[in-house]
């Protein structure tokens, strides 16, 4: 299944705040960096209620390695996990309230670590979360 519409929705929701990691100067952000941010966002939310073990050991390790390096700074990430993230979305069910809350907290933490203020991170997280859950529900239906 192609989750490109979900990725577009997340990218548009984040919008200019993708520049949150830049301190002073204005630089354009290459599309691949936006893709990496998208992957990190989806993984952060999914891991609130989805066990990465379901993907198999190799994919799980790739995702863990990706998230660890992403948190150190996006320029260090060279691993593309797009297909693993698609697979996780494919296997995941829509979350129960507790799982959704854990995903929500993970997502806010990731966006703050990326450089956003807490207020902006919370506003984005609420809308992104809705998009991901709607995709999971639609996939099931």
């Amino acid at each position: 299944m192609d989750f490109s519409e979900l990725r577009t929705a997340i990218r548009d929701e984040i919008g200019i705040d993708a520049h949150a990691l830049y301190k002073d100067e204005r630089y354009s952000i290459p599309p691949y960096l936006l893709d990496l941010l998208n992957d990190a966002i989806i993984v952060a939310f999914l891991t609130g209620f989805f066990g990465l073990d379901e993907l198999g050991k190799a994919a799980r390790n790739r995702i863990i390695q990706f998230m660890e390096t992403f948190r150190k700074g996006p320029q260090l990430v060279t691993l593309n996990i797009g297909s693993d993230v698609d697979h996780a979305l494919q296997l995941s069910n829509s979350p129960d309230p507790q799982g959704r809350q854990r995903g929500h907290d993970n997502l806010i933490r990731l966006l703050i670590d990326y450089g956003m203020s807490e207020e902006i991170a919370k506003a984005h997280a609420a809308l992104i979360e809705e998009s991901i859950v709607a995709t999971l529900v639609a996939k099931k239906g």
């Binding site: 490109s4 990725r7 577009t8 990218r11 548009d12 929701e13 919008g15 200019i16 705040d17 520049h19 949150a20 830049y22 301190k23 002073d24 100067e25 204005r26 630089y27 354009s28 952000i29 290459p30 599309p31 203020s117 207020e119 902006i120 506003a123």
Partner: protein
């Protein structure tokens, strides 16, 4: 000798009049006329930036009123200090192509609209913008007077703040009573005064915060002066709280406006939402900058550089029609076809047409352009693209928006080309007759409307001066 400028180089697209007037007027009223021409010339010159293997090529941008800046198109980057890396190559920005100016494009569009548009109030408004461009100065007095009146009503408790603000947005921003940048500063000044309950007095009376002339005539300077004065008074905390509220709400709403623009049904709605978004980013930027300059600690949820980036990106989307409208019908679809031929996937192509970083087209129209790109010449996706165009036409037909005539006119034109290429004469005849019929109606209604509006139009729209291009 210059070639006469024409919309889509002379290809008549039904419904183009209303969209092109809205889009070009928005593009020409972000900055004042002098800065608009300068910025447009730089954009045209940037398109000539060479691609030298192994080198990062920069153009130096010289402006009399500020330090030199440096721009690189591929990858897009902007610096305020001279790049001095091993591979950096700094070149002087060349002169823009001679005779190709915004005033020439406005003039060409006005002549077209007088002949083909029955939206007479829009034609008159366009004529007024062209007049300002021809004289080289924006008439900021009318916009400033709107703010002065609204401020007086509010201060004397004779007006409803919400309604007054709404009217200012309509007249000042969407009907272009003043350039977007000045409007934004004036609106920030108006709102901060209303929120703090402290008003600048001007004229013969004396008060705590004084101005010799109408503060809305130089709104950025007035805003900074107001902030500086209040920051050193007992109202410091009141000011800080309201600056934070203004900056944070504008920054948050700006992102939502740009998203709404991309999701809009019509390109006309995209223009309106982008104008609003650029205004909101600019207010957020202004609040951040003034707080920095005056060394006031304001709890903002964003960094000034982010608001700056948001404003620059949104402005680039607003300015884009100044180029797009005067290209060939096939130009943008051909570039898309080249991207696809080079292996770019549809989401990646969509990103280049429709994203918060360069909001040029609505998502729906971007899909229309991608489908158009696939019917320019025979290819394996031709029939699928034809089907997509029909589906998009149906979607536009059922759109709640009343402003999708241009999009439907574009699709008719693309379908005419596609069926011609396919050799389906019956369909070719159908679309040719449909397009011709719409154009005849357009011209007939325009003639009738312009005849009845002629006396008013002649009074309010004097003949443009200093036109550098002949009209279409």
């Amino acid at each position: 000798m210059t070639t006469a400028l024409k919309l889509f180089n002379g290809r008549m697209i039904p419904g183009v009049d209303r969209y092109s007037m809205a889009a070009l007027q928005a593009a020409c009223t972000v900055l004042d006329p002098r800065m608009s021409e300068l910025s447009f010339g730089e954009t045209r010159a940037m398109a000539t930036q060479p691609d030298i293997p192994g080198k990062t090529v920069w153009y130096r941008v010289r402006r009399p009123e500020r330090e030199d800046t440096y721009i690189n198109v591929n990858p897009g980057e902007y610096r305020t200090t001279m790049p001095d890396g091993e591979n950096d190559l700094v070149l002087e920005m060349p002169e823009p192509p001679p005779g190709d100016t915004l005033v020439g494009r406005l003039s060409a569009l006005l002549n077209f609209s007088r002949k083909y548009s029955f939206y007479t109030s829009h034609v008159q408004s366009l004529a007024a913008t062209l007049d300002e461009f021809s004289s080289g100065y924006p008439s900021i007095e009318r916009g400033a007077a709107l703010f002065t009146t609204a401020g007086e009503l509010l201060r004397d408790r004779k007006g409803d703040r919400q309604k007054l603000t709404h009217d200012l947005y309509r007249q000042g921003l969407l009907e272009h009573a003043m350039p977007l940048m000045q409007f934004s500063a004036a609106m920030a000044l108006f709102q901060i005064q209303a929120m703090t309950g402290l008003w600048i007095e001007f004229g013969p009376e004396t008060s705590a915060v004084q101005a010799r002339a109408n503060p809305y005539l130089q709104p950025s300077e007035s805003l900074r002066g107001f902030v500086r004065t209040i920051a050193h008074s007992e109202n410091h905390q009141n000011l800080v709280e309201n600056l934070a509220l203004t900056g944070n709400s504008c920054y948050r709403d700006a992102g939502a406006s740009v998203k709404a623009a991309l999701d809009a049904d019509s390109m006309i709605s995209l223009c309106d939402s982008l104008v609003l978004g650029a205004h909101q980013y600019f207010v957020a930027l202004l609040v951040g900058r003034i707080a920095e300059l005056e060394a006031i600690s304001v709890p903002l949820h964003y960094r000034t550089v982010q608001a700056d980036e948001g404003y620059a990106c949104t402005q680039s989307g607003i300015m884009h029609p100044a180029t797009f409208l005067f290209e060939e019908f096939e130009s943008e679809p051909s570039r898309i076809a080249t991207l696809a031929f080079d292996g770019a996937k549809k989401p990646d192509i969509l990103f280049t047409l429709c994203s918060p970083f360069w909001p040029r087209f609505t998502r729906k129209f971007a899909k229309t352009l991608i489908a158009t790109a696939k019917i320019l010449r025979p290819n394996p996706q031709f029939d699928q693209a034809l089907q997509e165009l029909h589906e998009l036409d149906l979607a536009y037909a059922h759109s709640p928006s009343l402003n999708t005539d241009f999009e439907r006119g574009w699709i008719d034109t693309a379908l005419l080309k596609a069926y011609h290429l396919k050799g389906d004469e019956e369909r070719v005849k159908h679309y040719a007759v449909s397009i011709a019929g719409k154009l005849i109606v357009m011209q007939g209604l325009a003639k009738e409307a312009n005849q009845s509006a002629a006396p008013v139009e002649n009074l309010s729209s004097p003949a443009p001066k200093n036109q550098s291009n002949s009209a279409s």
